[in-house]
């Protein structure tokens, strides 16, 4: 085997590439992924979490190749799956997922019609795959269309799509192991070999889907647990949520309050070739540097805080079970932006913060386990679904569905832990009353000393 075609990877060992895959990886458009950190600013909590979309995409490509060997008969489809995994994150921009809500807010509505908020980078990925001149050198028009179709589910049988975008796809199979390794935690570890070898293709009413043999049930449980632990411990770590929200707020303020024109252009995706060309020039460090050059703006101030790790602090946290009144619960978790903005203003006014720097945020895990529950489990004589087979999954599923509500602000808790807890309780007490007031405007709001202490 030609050693020039191998890459040594800390997660999977040697990753072998065909010559055309190596050439594709060596393009500028692909090498840009080296400058996008996989977990944005998670290294402010987990020191080692500086790995990139490039590393992860190669890992997903490697796993897709392994899965293809076991599950896909056609050589051309195996090739497509590897390429789709290789290119699945090509459309990510600076700080990856963090800026997706801003893209949605500032891009033409008709362009995003039918696309979920978290999927805009997939539209950009499709544009890059279809239009980028460097990629055109190595992939035919037909191949590029098929790759896009595989990624969005419009080409081929369902199981092919599921291998690159499904509940147990190559993407997740890589990022759990990789994020766990680089974060220095052991939560994302599962038996990847066993999982891959027990997956199979199942004919579900003329549609072919990914299923698992009963022998792999525990490997799948381990995978689901790994995802749950990584979600609660790393992806939804309190500091990580704060840094993500600070980035998003800084960009939003940079566009809406500071009027930074280049920033607005960067987040106004219009599907044009010019936009894509410009978009490809940006990565994490460039965005950080350029925003820090915009002196005396909100965006600069927040990015400076991020660079110096002077982070906002959590001043309120509650989950859905803390709100017994259904109207309040509905208001907090389904009331969306209007409620968030009103509450942010109220808090800012009461405590003397700049309202731009108060961030109300709903943390939801709803989508995390939804689709695993329906994975067919094949026995010798019958077929069931995963959530009926796994007692463990039910409790994880229940827990992961809980929604949380956080508020962040630029405060400094002072004194020992007891005093800090007291300050937090004071914030919480007052904010709870504000939430009640917003949900039930006819009620009187009393923010007296007694209730605050």
């Amino acid at each position: 085997m030609d050693s020039r075609l191998e890459i040594r990877d800390p997660i999977h060992g040697f990753i072998y590439r065909e010559p055309y895959e190596r050439d594709l990886i060596d393009t500028r458009v692909y090498q840009r992924l080296r400058n996008l950190r996989q977990l944005a600013l998670a290294h402010l909590v987990y020191l080692g979490a500086t790995h990139t979309r490039f590393d992860h995409s190669l890992g997903a490509f490697h796993i897709a190749g392994k899965l293809g060997k076991v599950l896909v008969e056609s050589e051309s489809e195996r090739r497509l799956i590897r390429l789709a995994a290789l290119l699945h994150d090509i459309g990510h921009g600076p700080f990856s997922h963090v800026a997706e809500p801003i893209l949605r807010a500032h891009s033409p509505k008709q362009l995003l019609e039918g696309k979920e908020e978290s999927k805009i980078h997939e539209l950009i990925s499709a544009d890059i795959i279809l239009k980028n001149t460097e990629l055109k050198e190595y992939l035919s028009d037909r191949e590029r269309e098929q790759i896009v179709g595989l990624l969005d589910g419009s080409f081929g049988h369902s199981y092919l799509h599921e291998l690159v975008s499904g509940p147990i796809d190559a993407d997740k199979q890589d990022y759990l192991l990789r994020d766990s390794h680089f974060s220095g935690v052991k939560y994302g570890i599962y038996d990847q070999e066993r999982l891959a070898n027990t997956l199979c293709v199942y004919d579900d009413n003329d549609d072919f889907v990914i299923a698992i043999s009963i022998d792999g049930l525990h490997a799948l449980e381990q995978f689901v647990l790994a995802k749950y632990y990584m979600t609660t411990q790393v992806y939804r770590h309190k500091i990580r949520l704060i840094t993500d929200n600070m980035i998003e707020r800084a960009i939003r303020l940079g566009i809406e309050a500071d009027g930074i024109k280049w920033l607005k252009s960067l987040y106004a995706y219009d599907g044009s070739d010019e936009y894509i060309q410009e978009y490809l020039q940006w990565h994490d460090e460039r965005l950080m540097t350029e925003i820090l050059r915009e002196k005396n703006t909100h965006a600069e101030d927040i990015f400076k805080r991020l660079r110096e790790r002077r982070l906002f602090k959590c001043i309120f946290e509650a989950d859905q079970n803390d709100f017994h009144d259904p109207w309040v619960r509905d208001f907090v978790f389904a009331g969306a932006n209007d409620f968030h903005r009103s509450l942010e203003s109220m808090i800012a006014k009461h405590f003397g913060f700049d309202a731009n720097y108060v961030i109300a945020y709903t943390v939801t895990f709803a989508s995390a386990t939804k689709t695993e529950s329906e994975i067919p489990v094949l026995h010798r004589t019958k077929t069931t679904v995963f959530h009926d087979e796994s007692a463990l999954f039910k409790s994880v599923d229940q827990k992961i569905r809980e929604q949380h509500f956080h508020i962040y602000a630029p405060v400094e808790y002072r004194g020992d832990e007891r005093k800090k807890s007291r300050q937090f309780r004071e914030f919480k007490m007052v904010i709870l009353q504000m939430i009640q007031k917003l949900a039930n405007p006819q009620q009187e709001l009393h923010l007296d000393r007694e209730s605050e202490s």
């Binding site: 549609d207 259904p326 509905d330 978790f333 709803a366 989508s367 067919p376 026995h379 004589t381 019958k382």
Partner: protein
């Protein structure tokens, strides 16, 4: 109207419960078409017919917040050994409380009327409603009348298999609820 409120009203107007995920999707589809209420549902062509991920996530959200509950019932195995399950949705006490102010709204009344029209048109089960939804989706996408043969051909493009007889039933339903006119 928020998608979660829309769905609560659809379940309420259906007697407080809907049997099956497919029925929930298709009722939401036809109520949305009959009332013209904008709840941002966005139906796309899926294997099982017009399908909205917004309906799915709104149902999950309502379930997570304790406003509806999902229960499932097994119906034994079919050929190939797959166990068939049906997922039913019903309003909880908190869901009913949340509906109190919604019940006085124009949208709630329109949703009730739409469900009544569907009931008067034969109250199709999920399979019939699913075929009617596919047929309507194709006719609307073409922007006009289609023959049974044309409908069948178009359906194949989406991997939808519809027999001429079931198309006839579907068209009768669409005519009854005024969503189609005879060519």
């Amino acid at each position: 109207m928020r998608a979660t409120d829309f769905l609560l009203c659809v379940i309420d107007a259906s007697g407080g419960a809907i049997r099956g995920r497919t029925l929930l999707q298709k009722r939401a589809f036809f109520v949305s078409e009959l009332t013209g209420i904008d709840a941002g549902l966005r139906f796309d062509a899926h294997y099982y017919g017009p399908y909205s991920t917004t309906v799915e996530s709104a149902a999950t959200q309502l379930q997570n917040l304790g406003f509806i509950q999902e229960s499932n019932t097994g119906f034994g195995s079919v050929s190939g050994g797959f166990e068939v399950r049906r997922y039913d949705y019903s309003l909880t006490e908190d869901g009913v409380r949340l509906l109190v102010p919604l019940r006085g709204t124009r949208e709630h009344q329109e949703i009730r009327n739409a469900i009544s029209r569907m009931a008067s048109a034969g109250d199709p089960n999920y399979v019939e409603l699913s075929i009617a939804a596919k047929a309507y989706f194709l006719i609307k996408r073409k922007g006009g009348g289609m023959s049974v043969l044309e409908l069948q051909k178009q359906a194949e493009k989406y991997n939808w298999s519809i027999s001429p007889k079931s198309i006839e039933h579907a068209v009768n339903f669409l005519l009854s609820v005024d969503l189609a006119s005879k060519a």
